[in-house]
């Protein structure tokens, strides 16, 4: 009996924990800090991919960790720029909010560039993978920053 009670109790309790909503009131400053940290993490994965495909480190087996992380993170970029997070400590250009269709296209292009790069990785030609990495950076990070990011001051 007590075991059943304990089970029920635990069940309810854990459910409460999981159902808890972590988001507090919308705080634009925190959202901006979060997305910068998010982008810094994107940079980290990208740098590690570079180190691996350039043969600078012996972690070929990590390549998929970084690639699938970028894949998941690129899918979340749009949600990082909600209305009202366009002022303060941000280097995002107003165009993100003024030209949302173009911003969505930049995200779609970046995701496509990642797919193309993953295909190059899968083919396994070292020299071509290096070239594909450069092209990936230019047509994802570079292209979006050209239209949607200011230089930090």
């Amino acid at each position: 009996m007590s075991k059943i009670l304990l089970f029920v109790f635990t069940f309810i309790f854990t459910n409460v924990v999981f159902a808890q909503n972590f988001s507090m009131d919308f705080n634009p400053e925190m959202v901006i800090k979060y997305r910068k940290d998010f982008m810094t993490a994107v940079k980290g994965h990208n740098n590690d991919i570079k180190a691996i495909v350039y043969g600078a480190v012996p972690f070929d087996n990590h390549l998929n960790i970084h690639l699938s992380s970028l894949e998941q993170m690129f899918a979340e970029i749009e949600s990082l720029f909600p209305e009202g997070s366009d002022f303060g400590e941000t280097n995002a250009k107003n165009a993100v909010w003024e030209n949302p269709e173009k911003f969505k296209k930049a995200i779609a292009d970046a995701r496509q560039a990642l797919v193309t790069f993953q295909q190059a990785v899968a083919r396994g030609d070292k020299a071509k993978t290096k070239a594909a990495f450069k092209k990936f950076g230019r047509s994802s990070c570079g292209s979006c920053h050209k239209s949607f990011k200011k230089k930090q001051n």
Binding site: A95, G137, G142, K151
Partner: protein, 268 residues
């Protein structure tokens, strides 16, 4: 007979490129080195190439670089070659008035005659685009009559080594890198004694040889070809445009010459 036959054979094998076409191709490349496209195209709104209309926000107000396609009504279709050269190298309009230095003619003044000739051939080979120019929207204290004085003060730019050093010619003259990377005083005059030490108002960093000495050649190539910075970030905004429309199109030998010049130039 045999000779004639061979001649015809040789001619038919030669690529069908006329000297005029070659000149136009050379001119297109000069335009890329000088990045005319970036200012004269309303890129953000997918405007027609070189047809003007882009808003350039500056501390002096908003400039709208004009339509420079050879349209007779709204572009430069009625201009002579001489008038075009004068605009680009001296900042003078056909009616004798002075252009605002947002148009970087103070860098372009050392463009060689041969390059101006090719550039002209290219510009006038373009398809005319009918698109009216916008009037600039400038602060009250900015007007054309001060420009002759301003031009007299701002004579220092454009390397006089340009005619000997290909790298200097590309960086200082065609690439007009000083326009953003060299600081200006309150009148907007470039402070050439601090060449390439950066311009805070434009967030353009120091690119003097001193500050570039830790960059490997490979890193500089990655920057100018793909916009990649050594940190793993990618350049944004203005420099990203310079990379996309200009430096990434440079021929390898030109890129090498420019990098050599950047890394060895002397600052005081």
């Amino acid at each position: 007979m045999n000779y004639l036959y061979k001649l015809i054979l040789v001619i038919s094998i030669l690529p069908a490129v006329s000297p005029a076409q070659t000149l136009i191709d050379q001119g297109r490349y000069i335009a890329q080195l000088a990045n005319c496209y970036s200012c004269h195209t309303d890129i953000e709104n997918e405007g027609k190439p070189l047809a003007g209309g882009r808003a350039m926000e500056t501390q002096f107000g908003i400039f709208y670089p004009p339509n420079i396609t050879p349209d007779k009504e709204t572009g430069i279709g009625n201009w002579t070659e001489h008038q075009f050269a004068k605009a680009v190298r001296s900042g003078l309009a056909p009616d004798g008035s002075h252009y605002y230095p947002t148009f970087p003619y103070s860098a372009y003044k050392n463009i060689s005659d041969a390059d101006i000739k090719a550039l002209t051939a290219y510009m006038f080979s373009l398809k005319p685009v009918k698109q009216m120019n916008n009037n600039h929207n400038l602060s009250w204290f900015v007007s054309r009559w001060v420009l002759p004085i301003w031009k007299m003060l701002n004579t220092d730019q454009g390397s006089n080594k340009s005619d000997k050093d290909r790298g200097a010619y590309i960086v200082d003259t065609l690439g007009h890198c000083n326009e953003c990377h060299t600081p200006r005083n309150s009148l907007g005059i470039l402070q050439m004694e601090q060449k390439f030490s950066g311009n805070e108002d434009l967030s353009a960093p120091d690119i003097s040889s001193e500050s570039l000495k830790d960059w490997s050649k490979e890193e500089l190539i990655d920057l100018f070809s793909d916009g990649a910075l050594p940190s793993g970030d990618y350049v944004s905004d203005h420099m990203a445009e310079v990379v996309e429309y200009s430096t990434s199109t440079w021929k390898p030998a030109d890129l090498k010459a420019a990098i050599r010049y950047l890394q060895k130039q002397k600052t005081n």
